[in-house]
Amino acid sequence: MTTIGPAIAPTSRGSRPAVRGLRGTRSLAWYLPAAIVFVGGIVLWEVVVGALNLQAFVLPKPTAILAALQANWAEGRFALLPSATATLQEALTGLVIGTTVGLLVAFASVRWVTARGILLPLAVAANAVPIIAFAPLLNNWFGLVNPLSKALMAAILVFFPVMANVVRGLVDVEPAAVELMRSYAASDWTILRKLRVPNALPYFFTAMKVATTLSLIGAIVAEYFGGASTVLGRMIVQSASALKFDITWAAILLGAATGIVFYLVVAVVERFVIPWHATLRAEA
């Protein structure tokens, strides 16, 4: 099981010189270089497309993309905002289902050895299948226009990283920590609550950061294979076939923005749930 690396490498606990202060919040200045490169890249794109006189179907200017976004924001044949909302709903539904099932399987396989023997090899084998290839089948089973067929595609993609990472987090505890708990005559349930679950939280959040992106990919790709028309995937396919590439780009931009917001939400929740972890990471 090596899909996603653990959230933290085990830190060495050798003798350390002194007390460390709390750190971990990065200043705005830290992000400045990245921001400059980003804005510079966009400007360069605009200038180069203008200078080379590239046709819009090859690469539209950023300003043209923004204009298309504005023109098709809420209405018309390519109404982007309702499409993005619909796709986000599918992705969110898939994320919730995939995460829930992933957590259930992870806890079951840690709790029961038999479950581990049956579930883990199956899950690993299933992960080796190019799952996205099942999209047409899901569309067939659950209905082409049923958002559930897209949500399930997202759920399947989300399931594996969540399951694999959480299993790792629950199992990869220091053996000495388990012995410590045994020396207190702690029950398995107490060991789960006070040792395994807290240990798994950073792994879980690492998985969630990947899972949010995967859920969007799953939903959008499933939409490529057909379905209700007011969704991002259909917008992309249809605008491209109508050679309205500025709209295609606008739809992609919207999808990207959704993905970034998704990620940031997870990062913020992580900060609240395991604030100590950001500090530990900054130390490493």
Partner: protein, 294 residues
């Protein structure tokens, strides 16, 4: 026997009685390593007993058998008149390992509270006890820090505070200061003695440092290389309280020499700092490869 600590004479009979203990590690049906052989050891209430011997001679195994983290192949362990398992269920043990084994997600204070939560103490009592213990190990200012923000020595003091918090009747310490530098180690030795004198706990302490064993203990149990056997028990009749002057006294040097000679007689290699060398690690591999012993 040797000088008992203040609260020593409350109960009669040994706190720990190890009799006829052998331990053979097996892989499948094959005996792989004979770690301990014919171990008999009584520890009285309030004693400070050190185990010393070459690496791989079974010190940790013996400690873990006493603490019911593993069971003997033959023989019995009685703790406070009960089986080791019952003693563990009754929370008679405080354990300190070579690594501090603190939980990163808990603050220093909450790490100390961990056993108290498991024992079902109420929040107010937990808080006041955690403070008290952290003051005892002089970490009162660091209650809100996380373990990774502390030095190795401070982390080990948190581990000691945690082990003492629920007043276990026996403290089992497995090379608790093995990873610390010499100066920190000597300071920690002083602290452990201070705590032991104040609490009257019985301590079983594993070390590979002769000076440490002599400085701390009422008795030093010297073990031979595999299979681990008790070759000699050296009574340490140094006066208490032990201080830096103790380390310069003639009797101290005599006792260090006595322990060193007992170790040599048991076949251990020593380095010039009085540390028991790695001994026969290569032979461990060989034993396992050949499945020779047993």
């Amino acid at each position: 026997m040797t000088d008992p600590s203040p609260r020593a004479a409350q109960q009669t009979g040994p706190v720990v009685r190890v009799s006829g203990v052998d331990k053979t590690f097996r892989r499948g049906d094959r005996a792989v390593t004979k770690a301990l052989e014919a171990i008999d050891l009584d520890i009285a209430r309030g004693e400070f007993v050190s185990l010393i011997g070459p690496s791989g001679c079974g010190k940790s195994t013996l400690l873990r058998i006493v603490g019911d983290l593993t069971s003997p192949s033959t023989g019995t362990v009685t703790v406070n008149g009960k089986t080791a398992e019952q003693a563990r269920r009754d929370r008679d043990y405080g354990m300190v390992f070579q690594a501090p084994v603190l939980f990163d997600w808990r603050t220093v204070e909450d790490n100390v509270k961990l056993p108290l939560e498991i024992l079902g103490w109420d929040a107010a009592r937990r808080a006041s006890r955690a403070r008290e213990m952290l003051d005892l190990v002089e970490l009162g200012e660091f209650v809100k820090h996380h373990p990774f923000q502390l030095s190795g020595g401070m982390q080990q003091r948190v581990a000691i505070a945690r082990a003492l918090a629920f007043e276990p009747s026996i403290l089992l310490m497995d090379e608790p200061f093995g990873a610390l530098d010499e100066m920190t180690r000597e300071r920690m030795n002083g602290e452990v003695l201070r705590i032991w004198e104040r609490t009257g706990t019985t301590i079983l302490f594993v070390t590979h440092s002769i000076p440490e064993a002599v400085f701390l203990s009422s008795r030093v149990v010297v073990m031979s290389a595999r299979p681990g056997r008790i070759t000699t028990i050296v009574d340490i009749d140094l006066p208490r309280p032990r201080t830096d002057e103790t380390r310069e006294s003639r009797r101290y040097f005599e006792l260090v020499t006595a322990v060193r000679e007992a170790l040599r007689a048991g076949g251990a290699e020593l380095d010039d700092r009085g540390t028991v060398g790695p001994g026969s690690d290569a032979s461990i591999e060989r034993t396992i490869a050949e499945g020779a012993v047993g």
